[in-house]
Amino acid sequence: MKIQLPFTKSKKRTTVVKETIKKDIGMITPLKNEFIQSIKDATHNPADLMIKNISPNLTLVYIDNLVNDVTLNNHILASLQDKPIDTPETIKASLSIPEINISARFEVVVTAIVNGSVLLHVEGFSEVILASIPKQESRSLTTPENESQVIGAQIGFNENLSTNVSLVRRYIISPDLCNENFVLGNRTNTSVAILYINGIANEQMINTLRQRITDLDIDALIDSAVLAEMIDDNSISPFPQMLLTERPDRFCDGLLNGKLGVLVDGSSMAIICPQSFIEFFQSQEDKNLRWQIATFARLLRFSAILLSVFLTPIYVGALTFHYEVIPLAFLVPLSESRALVPFPPVFEALLLEFIIELLREAGARLPTKIGQTIGIVGGIVIGTAAVQAGITSNILLIFVALSALASFTTPSYMMGNVIRYIRFPIIILAGFWGYYGIMLAFCFILIHLLRQTSLGAPYLSPFYPPRLKGMADSIIRLPLPLTTKRPDITRPTDQEKYNKEPVNPKNS
């Protein structure tokens, strides 16, 4: 099922990379000017490259925008000020910063300086002290904007990898929480971390994921969404096979169910895999609510999704071909509302869906304050005007608005998009062949979903292969005493979540 992607490592490219690395290998000169020149050459003499001479034979080299000024002043400059210049070892001992190294290899030194290290070069020594004091630019932790919920933690990931990892570690305080780091992107050198819980996560899946990430040969990685698309089982399918979330609680819940998580530096969305189709429609809030309420919310969401995908096509199909199925009570209002409309129902429906999508897209692109106004004004003004002008029927307007509303109940934005866009081909099919077209689309989607896998696990799990308890737990939210096992999709090493017996100890 794995489709060969253009950015997968090929043999030819690897050799090229190796050659460039070979060229850079070299030792550091003990001469001060020569060293400065070589650094300037290697970094292409950027404007923010700072070279400071503390004393005649001690030179500080760093990139201004990458290092933390406070640390530099308080811990490096201050402690070097009155010390006699000695060997690099003595300087290293005198500096009070945690991450400090000595290296004699030029390649290492250049990597260190672009990562935010200060280089301390002592004349006459071919070793350089690397004091790592990178500037940690990050936004403060805020509520997750795209996945808000009423009951539950109000904290979301931000764009900093170490903050995100620490958030996860705060939730799961366990030595079993494994964290593997990779660097991706030939030009961006982005840090990527795989997180999983040893003893729960399936070994084979970890290997597969590791393999997929290390096999990637790309020049840049800006966001985790791109990474998710690259390591998906089938990147061509419109359905995402891995979940993107910005909720640490959801992320940790996934890990505890035996899933694997991927965090990317510079991206506030974390990847969770393997993920089944049905899990995209579950919200973390379902776990926090009482099971009856959560069940109702889930059923509401599922009916909303069915409605969202099939309501407009059914309208189009019924009005274009199958007028027989319309009950007498609807017949007159339906035909009268369409009396002024000059277009066939397909075109009418597509036009309205297009307007709704336009409003959504405009709302998403515009700044928040204007966006809301556009949404309301645009919706009301265009809607009423369209009906009065006789371009659409007001009943269809209700249907389209309803299905748009319903599509937004999907907790995952990525899946919500798919649900919304999948409607267009179905409307067209319904406009051409009525219910036969809708059924054709339904069968096609069903087969397509059956063919998909998520990290090798069946995408339609637990419906296919069928697991009764899993099925029940995904359509409704079962009470806690009934969900003692982890879902099958992750093939967990340790299946039991907790002891079945008393979740609430009996009154004693």
């Binding site: 071909f321 007028y323 319309i326 017949l331 035909s335 009396a339 002024l340 006789g390 067209i428 051409f432």
Partner: protein, 374 residues
């Protein structure tokens, strides 16, 4: 590896090539809601169709068009020539047959509608007293859409169990059944109103007799089970039990609702044939004039007995009428077929037997309660 996009592209190409199915867009078709068949003056069949159309100026209007032709399909084409929109029969709710036509033969009209897949099996059939065109073409003061009006009229009466059910399926069922005959309501124009005037009884596919609308209660009682019917009757002086009231009244008027009935037919003697018809009727008293003290169980029992007797005589009267016109709308024949092994019943064979049929009627009437005010 054949990729998904390949299939999508292929599907789209195919769809674009073949996008040529005839559409029936709701507002571009004229929907026939009612069709009436009558005997034509010049040609064989005269068809009156009630067509509902939608157009931007009038929102929606109803047209009644009468055409004459040799076949009903030919009439449909003729009607089409008179309308701006093509007519479709998928929303047809009622088929009316004129009395004259019904007395001739209705077989063809039922069959042609059964063959058409778009015609619903749940539409109602009825016989019209007199001519078809005047009933449908008349501009009623309070009826905007005569097609929908007649449909609702029939639907309401059938659902309230005032009238026997006459859906196309049931009519066809009875028509093709050896031991059953067709019965359907009769509709009549009454000044500014359209109303149900009685029941038409058929022998095979010819209308041979009629009963009044009031008698439909008894027909339904013999044919079917009531779930919640209503019934009113008058006990004549002879039938009134002597010690029910102090001064014996000339007659007692009674009205019942929430009637539940259960009919049970048994074939006692296959040669005659002889049937036992047991009816269990439970009802709630709605009205009783003059007032009878219902606290006394003895009096209630007497009253029940009197009503049973009254019902029995009515039922015998109805069955006798059916026998006299050789129309078995009650389904005795079906009971005969299902009770006699190897009967190989046909309509002709049954009608021969039916003439000499004997029925022992036994009615068991129970008064359940008498409202909330005693």
């Amino acid at each position: 590896m054949k990729t998904l996009s390949f299939y999508i592209i292929l599907l789209f190409i195919v769809s674009l090539l073949a996008g040529c199915v005839q559409t029936n867009i709701l507002d571009k078709v004229g929907l026939v809601t009612l069709v009436g068949y009558d005997v034509g003056t010049e040609e064989k069949i005269s068809t009156t169709a009630v067509v509902r159309e939608v157009n931007p100026e009038f929102q929606s209007n109803v047209q009644v068009i009468t055409t004459e032709n040799k076949t009903s399909k030919g009439n449909r084409m003729k009607t089409n020539r008179k309308l701006s929109k093509k007519i479709m029969v998928g929303q047809m709710r009622v088929i009316l047959l004129s009395e004259e036509l019904a007395k001739d033969n209705i077989h063809h009209y039922i069959e042609t509608n059964l063959e058409n897949a778009t015609v619903s099996n749940s539409l109602y059939l009825a016989v019209v007293e007199g001519q078809m065109a005047p009933l449908l073409e008349y501009k009623y003061n309070n009826i905007e859409d005569v097609g929908q009006h007649i449909y609702r009229l029939l639907q309401q009466n059938i659902e309230q169990e005032h009238m026997i059910s006459s859906t196309l399926h049931e009519i066809a069922h009875d028509m093709y059944m050896a031991g059953d005959d067709i019965a359907m309501p009769i509709i009549k124009k009454d000044e500014e109103l359209v109303g149900i005037a009685g029941i038409a009884l058929f022998k095979e596919d010819k209308m041979v007799g009629r009963l009044s609308a009031e008698d439909s209660f008894f027909v339904k009682l013999i044919r079917d089970n009531f779930k919640s019917g209503i019934y009113e009757t008058v006990l004549q002086k002879d039938n009134v039990p002597s010690d029910l009231l102090k001064n014996k009244p000339n007659e007692i008027s009674l009205a019942f609702d929430a009637i539940r009935s259960k009919r049970d037919i048994k074939l006692v003697n296959p040669t005659t044939p002889e049937f036992d018809l047991n009816l269990k009727v439970k009802a709630q008293i709605l009205e009783i004039v003059p007032d009878v003290n219902m606290d006394d169980p003895k009096k209630v029992a007497k009253l029940e007995k009197a009503i049973s007797k009254n019902l029995t005589s009515d039922i015998i009267r109805i069955i006798d009428y059916g026998k006299s016109i050789e129309s078995d709308v009650f389904g005795f024949g079906e009971k005969y077929r299902s009770s006699v092994r190897g009967s190989n019943l046909t309509k002709e064979k049954w009608h021969e037997l039916y003439k000499n049929m004997k029925v022992n009627v036994k009615v068991d009437f129970v008064i359940m309660r008498n409202g909330v005010f005693e």
